[in-house]
Each structure stands twice: as C-alpha cells, then as structure tokens.
Symmetry: C2
Subunit: 326 residues, 2 copies
C-alpha cells in the first residue's frame, strides 16, 4: 500500500444552497416535513422559489461541505461531484477550490442545470431542505477516477448518493477500489427519510463496505427500525469498526469495538443547523487522518458543528485551525 497523498476523498451531490428564513406556517401550508430533505423536480423548485423569501446563495452539498471544512482544518482533501457548465456550477467550483479542495470532476454540458437546494430556516434555527438534483443525476462511474480513490486515506460517501441511481453504482465502485487499495470507507446516513427510501441497500452497504459510519439519532433509529437508541448503538457496534452517532445538544457517542466515548456538544447560539452533521464528520475525519485519538477527533467534530450552526449557511466563517487549536 503506497503512501496516501490525500487524507479524504469525498463523493457527493454538488449543490448550491439557497437559504431563506420561513415561518412554521409556510412549511405547514406546503406540507413540508420540518428538518428533512425532500427531492423535488424542476417545476416544484421554481414554484417554491417564487413563494419563498429573499435568499442567500452559498455552496452546499453534504459531502462537499465536509470536504470544505476538513480542508479548512488542514487536511488534504479531494471531492468528486457533478455540476453543470452554468453560473451556479461556476460558483460551486470556485468555492470548493477556494476552500483548498481538489475538484477534478468535469462539468456537465447541455444537460440539466446545477443542482440547488432550497433551504427554509425556521425561527428555531431548524432547516428544511428541498433539493432539485439537476446535473447530479449525471454523475456516474466514469467520474470515479480510480487513481484519486486509491490515493486517499479515507473515502467519504454521503447517503444522499443512494438517490440518483448512477451515483449509487459509482460509489459502490469507488468503495471497492478504496478497499482494494487498502484504504478505509466512511459513510454518512444523511437523512432519516433517505435511509427509509433505501434501507436494505444501506444495511448491506454498511455491513459489507463501511469502516466508519456517521449518523444522527433519527437516522440510526430509522436504519434499524427501532425507537431504542441503546439497541441501535449495540447493533451498529457489531457492524462497523467505528460509528459516530451525533445527538444535537446531547453531543455524540463514538463506538469502536468495545470502546465507547461520550463527547460533549460545544454550547452555542443556534442560528441555522444547516451543515451541522457535515461539519462534525469533517472535524472527526481531519483529526482521525492526522492520527489523533477518537475522543480528540470527536472534540474537533463538536467544535466544527458548533461553528457552522452559529451562523447562516453550511460552510465555516471562522479560522478552523485556531478553533481546534491545531
């Protein structure tokens, strides 16, 4: 096994977020499930955008957010994902490269536009996401360069990739390449409804191909169809080498074989929870690939999550290295 020249290679949907404040009644009137991610088509996206308030555009995408945060912590990071050759695609590519992430995937020409996620932030800081996948559905195995996968210590996949069929095939191929090269595969479950849409596939992929799993409480309970967190915890402990289970203000639990580490949340004023899980995974992986202990990796995760929920948007606004003391 050769020396890794990347710490993390993320694969995910390449999305530009449009964030706007909304009242609870706005969600209720449109039948939107608060806190969840719903897939919408182009017409629904246009109608929702016309109805929602003034927005702020910022690059997003779950794994892409994680990559940007990890790079801000000094990790060597790459990202694979599909934008279109349009204005929002240029914004996405600029932002992830400006964050220090290697982004080699060519843009889609002549197809669907760059994906966007219309995010409604309610007064409690909770975010409700409505994603038009656009060009992301064109991401496929041809976009997975085996050399990029093989040179990264950890391959990081977002659960949302189970939604576009070609992407699901591509990330399965990437996982096989990573393991053949002696690398580790990390997965985040992304969303309880995404888990419900693809539960059997998630369970098989976790058992067979996942070394490090990230999930929040709702997602892990949905995965195992239980309402008992302890039962879910003991089950996932059997299935992956490392599981990081996040529980909002209750902090997180890291399970690794017989070890159990309880990590405190970092108190902060919640403005917008968009990207909290992504930032936690970034902090964890940046520390982990640097060889730090699991509790220290959890601490980095908590600090990064606290940073991104203290302001509008999923990408960090502070100097993260100073934040974690690295």
């Amino acid at each position: 096994m050769s020396e890794a020249s990347l710490d993390i290679l993320g694969i995910g949907n390449a999305i530009v977020d449009v964030l706007a404040r909304a009242e609870e009644g706005f969600l209720a009137a449109r039948g939107l499930t608060k806190g969840a991610m719903a897939l919408i088509d182009a017409a629904a996206a246009e109608a929702l955008y016309a109805a929602m308030g003034p927005g702020i555009e910022s690059s997003g995408g779950s794994a892409a957010n994680t990559c940007a945060v990890a790079a801000g912590l000094g990790a060597r990071v790459g990202f694979l994902g599909k934008v279109a050759a349009d204005a929002l695609g240029e914004v996405f590519a600029h932002d992830i490269r400006a964050a220090g992430v290697h982004f080699p995937t060519p843009p889609l020409r002549g197809g669907a536009p760059t994906a966007r996620c219309l995010i409604l932030v309610t007064p409690d800081g909770q975010r409700t996401m409505n994603t038009y996948l656009g060009a992301c559905v064109a991401f496929g195995e041809a976009d997975v360069d085996p050399a990029e996968v093989a040179r990264a210590r950890v391959l990081y996949l977002e659960g949302y990739l189970f939604d576009p069929p070609a992407a699901q095939a591509a990330f399965r191929a990437a996982a096989r390449i990573a393991h053949a090269a002696g690398r580790q595969v990390a997965l985040t479950l992304s969303d309880p409804f995404c888990v419900a849409r693809h539960r059997a596939a998630f369970r098989a992929f976790i058992r067979e191909q996942t070394d490090i799993l990230f999930a929040n409480e709702h997602e892990i309970l949905s995965l195992y169809e239980t309402d008992d967190f302890t039962a879910a915890m003991e089950r996932v402990r059997q299935e992956v080498a490392i599981a990081c289970l996040t529980r909002s203000e209750k902090g997180s639990v890291i399970l690794a074989g017989g070890e159990t580490h309880h990590i405190a949340a970092v108190p902060t004023r919640v403005v917008d929870t968009t990207g909290a899980g992504d930032a936690y995974a970034a902090g964890f992986l940046a520390a982990y690939t640097r060889g730090l202990s699991l509790p220290e990796a959890g601490r980095w995760g908590s600090l990064c999550a606290a940073e991104v929920i203290s302001h509008f948007g999923a990408r960090p606004q502070q100097d993260l290295r100073a934040l974690v003391g690295a």
Copy 2:
C-alpha cells in the same frame, strides 16, 4: 398633487454581491483601497474572483438594499434598476420582490451579464468592494417610467449612478419628474471616491435637485474638499432641506434648517459593515415618509444599520418592524 401610492422609489445599480473573507495582506497585494468601492471590468472581475476565498452570494446594490430594508419596515417601495436575463438576474429579481418591493424594470437580453460586486471582508468587519457593472450600464431614460416616479413620496437615488453615463442622465430626468409632481428627491453620496470622480456634478445636483442628502463623514469631507467636519456640516445645511450625516460608531447628525439632531449609534458586534449606510437611509426614509419626527427617523436609521452590520451581507435577517417597535 395626488396622493402618493408609494412611499419610496429607489433607482440604483442592480447588483448581486459575492462576499468573502480576506486578510489585510490580500488587499495590499492587489492594491485595493480598504473600505472603498472600485469599478472593475469583466476580466479583472474574473481574475479577482479566481483569487478570492469561498463566497456567499446575496442580492445587493446600494439603493436596492435601502429599498429592501424600507419594505421590511412596512414602507410601500418600488425600485428601478437593470439586471440581465440570466441566473444572477433571476436571483436579484426574486430577492427584491420577495422583500416586498415593486420591481418593474425589464431585464437586459443579449447584452452584458448581471452586475456583481466582489466584496472582501477583512477581520475588522470592514468591506472593500469591487464592482463589475455589467447590465447596469444599459439602464437609461427609457427605464424611468414617469408614472412610477410621480406616485412616490420620495425619489431615492444612489451616488453610484453617476458612474454609468446613461444612468446619470436617467436619474436627472427622474428628479425633474419628481419635482414637477411635487415630490421630494433624496440622494446618497455612496462613496468618497465616487464623489471625487464626479465632484462638480454632485455639487450642482445637490444644490439644484436634492431635498434630502445622506452622506458619511468621508463622503461629505470629500464633497467639500475639507478636513473640517463642522465646516462641511454648516455648508451642507445651507444647500439641502435635510442632511443626514453618518459617523459609524459616533452615530449620526441630522441637519434641517436651524435644527441639529445628534443621534446615537446602536452598539453591536461588527461582523460586516456592508450595507450599513443603505440600511440607515432605509430606516430614516421609512420613518420620515410615515410622518415621524427627525430624531425618531434617525433612531430607525441607527437600529437598521446596527442590524445589518451584525451579520454577513447587506440585507436584514431580523424582523425589522419588531426591531423599531413599529
């Protein structure tokens, strides 16, 4: 004179802001003047964008920001300005309409793209702006609907409109229409370097066509080529019916004939000063057109300015009516 069906009609450059954090050294290395607005061409905009950090996109434009804030305070507001028929133009049009502002100007087709302002925010919260005017240079007299101007209590013009020649002619025409209809004309000086570029034209327009003037300390000193604030104050008092002079953390001074009102600033943690002056003008004009006193109008201005400098971006994130107690 018929009853006004709008409180404020703004005319300004229609711009999408791209905000990114930058270190002092980044400005110095590129010869950028901190705190100022520089006009750049398409090639310079592309080069600067490639070099700058990850951005957040948000609708901007000086008068447009003022219109959005004033609408958030309950004023009846219209805005005239030119975007292109492209993705950023759609963002601008969506955001200003979603803020409750009437925006009738048709987009430019087949010409330059929507204007953008690359804004670098240094660790002290100061913003340095680099504007590519794009479609704004196509704004002309044909875009000034006399009926819109005649139905607004106050016509509000940004000094930046002195830069595109056709826009300068258009806003002079608009001022004549407003006065012929018995309305008032307000002007903001926008930027000390913009004042320096067009000093004689500014002075003449202020003497001949301006009822309400907004300026910060640097701008009023530049206008009269003096370093004595008291002298500048006494001079402007002779030239306009109402002058609102803002002085950052020192608050503002409102002059009206023999009256002088000192208004305190509202203390806040400065995150990003982008839009502070625009928000002050919005608060003042929303209160003024509602018939409130000058000191109360100044208080609304200070509250709105404090709101927008407490976060990233020039458009408000809080419920402004609750903020001012209206």
